[in-house]
């Protein structure tokens, strides 16, 4: 689709996209171009205020006074019912992905893994290969060392970098994160408002392709304000993810997610 549009043609559409008046294939083409072209992304940011200005440049009219009370009353009625009810997991694909993660935590698997952990990392890896019988999973647990200080910049400026936003889940509703992933250069993961870790626990990042979570490595512990940034090398044969997730796991990491999911984001 983007073959139809070259850089100049797409650049000309940026003001229209920023103002929120673009549709169909043009909108899609601009969006995929913005992800790849820093120059156009900057241009787009500069045009951002137009959308706000258009929404505010209408005659300002006070809503009827009764509307406020009616909205608040509806919220109070709603609180006792809807808010207490768990949301359906089919709401969005990434929620389904999160559910898959939880489902995959079979008790038997968990017991086996606890047992394996005693055997040490080597045995763990061998068993993982036997268990999952999937070559992609061989990379699963490797605890990747934090790479050098130039690495985040290399990832952020990679031609194939993709941004994936993650939202806090029920255990950490205020948390949020962004991942910048380049197949060739690795992933920069930055989070805010993550809860402090109990002793002996660690946050682990997962790439989920289809139904299969693959570990992308362990995240550094959040600071006092819940913020952290970790740069990880990712194997180049990592499957292209449908979603990213962060779970809390025993120190050292695990082969398959076992703990609560803290963050989830769809990769599309």
């Amino acid at each position: 689709m983007s073959d139809l549009f070259d850089h100049d043609a797409l650049r000309a559409l940026i003001p229209l996209h920023a103002a929120g008046v673009l549709s169909g294939s043009e909108r899609t083409a601009v969006e995929s171009h913005l992800a790849a072209c820093a120059e156009c992304a900057a241009e787009h940011r500069a045009h951002r205020p137009l959308a706000a200005a258009l929404s505010q440049a209408v005659p300002q009219v006070d809503p009827p006074a009764a509307l406020r009370e009616s909205i608040l009353a509806a919220a109070r009625r709603d609180r006792s019912t809807a808010r207490a009810t768990p949301r359906p997991v089919s709401f969005a694909p990434w929620l389904a992905a999160a559910a898959m993660l939880l489902v995959s935590v079979g008790l038997g698997l968990y017991v086996r893994m606890l047992h394996e952990r005693i055997q040490g990392l080597e045995g763990e890896l061998r068993e993982a290969i036997a268990l999952v019988n999937d070559s992609q999973q061989r990379v699963a647990v490797a605890v990747r060392a934090a790479v050098d200080a130039q690495a985040p910049l290399a990832v952020l400026t990679a031609p194939d970098v993709r941004q994936i936003n993650l939202a806090g889940q029920k255990v950490a509703p205020a948390a949020s994160a962004r991942a910048f992933w380049s197949r060739s250069r690795g992933v920069v993961f930055t989070a805010a408002n993550l809860p402090a870790l109990p002793t002996g626990r660690v946050y682990q990042l997962w790439f989920i392709a289809g139904k299969t979570p693959v570990s992308a490595g362990l995240l550094t512990a959040p600071d006092a304000r819940g913020g952290m940034t970790t740069t990880l090398a990712t194997p180049t044969d990592l499957p292209s993810p449908d979603a990213l997730a962060v779970s809390i796991e025993p120190e050292g990491g695990v082969l398959q997610p076992t703990g609560d999911i803290y963050l989830v984001g769809a990769a599309h």
Partner: protein, 201 residues
């Protein structure tokens, strides 16, 4: 760390203090505090109602739109994604989207068979999710500049933003070639941008 500063800057241009206050309010909403919903309403209802009214043109329908928007904000407060945009960007986006939906339902009723096809061609307001409000002065300058645009520039832009028509629909409605519509919309947006920046139009 420099990286975080860079990333924060990406999402927080505009008025960070106001955006932060909104974020705190939404966090209180997520914990079930309906006083926080009242705060959010008091801060933004007038602007949102005005936008909805401009699109649907019927005060009672604009009220329905606001009901839906604040009800959704209340139910989904625990899922608000900081990283993705501002609270007000979310509110404006959902308001415009709901209001345009109503307009489309009314419009497509006579020719229902085309309904599906029309939906895929529609503008997508979600592009505006990370917007920050402009000042009252700036909004006024843009309003004046919009009114001062020649009709052949103003009408296509209004049809797109406030009526949700795609460019090919606008071209068909006005019986003007598609390329001309694009050029005129770009010219219109350039003038509005100048007005926003405070330059004489």
């Amino acid at each position: 760390m420099w990286l975080l500063a860079v990333l924060d800057h990406r999402s927080d241009f505009g008025d960070p203090a106001r955006a932060d206050a909104d974020r705190r309010t939404v966090r209180r909403m997520a914990s079930g505090d309906d006083g926080a919903l009242a705060d959010l309403y008091d801060r933004h209802a007038r602007m949102l109602f005005s936008l909805a009214l401009r699109i649907v043109r019927e005060p009672s329908e604009a009220e329905d739109v606001l009901q839906e928007v604040f009800s959704q904000a209340w139910r989904q407060a625990d899922r608000f994604d900081n990283a993705r945009g501002t609270v007000v960007g979310w509110l404006v986006t959902v308001t415009r989207s709901r209001a345009l939906d109503r307009l489309r339902r009314k419009r497509s009723r006579p020719e229902a068979p085309h309904g599906d096809q029309v939906a895929t061609e529609m503008v997508d307001p979600s592009a505006s999710i990370d917007l920050q409000l402009v000042t009252t002065e700036q909004a006024e300058r843009v309003r004046v500049a919009l009114a001062a645009l020649p009709d052949d520039q103003r009408v296509p832009l209004e049809l797109a933003y406030y009526e949700g028509l795609s460019q090919s629909e606008i071209a068909a409605t006005l019986t003007v070639p598609l390329g001309t519509i694009k050029t005129r919309m770009r010219q219109a947006l350039r003038r509005l941008r100048d007005a926003l920046a405070g330059e004489a139009v």
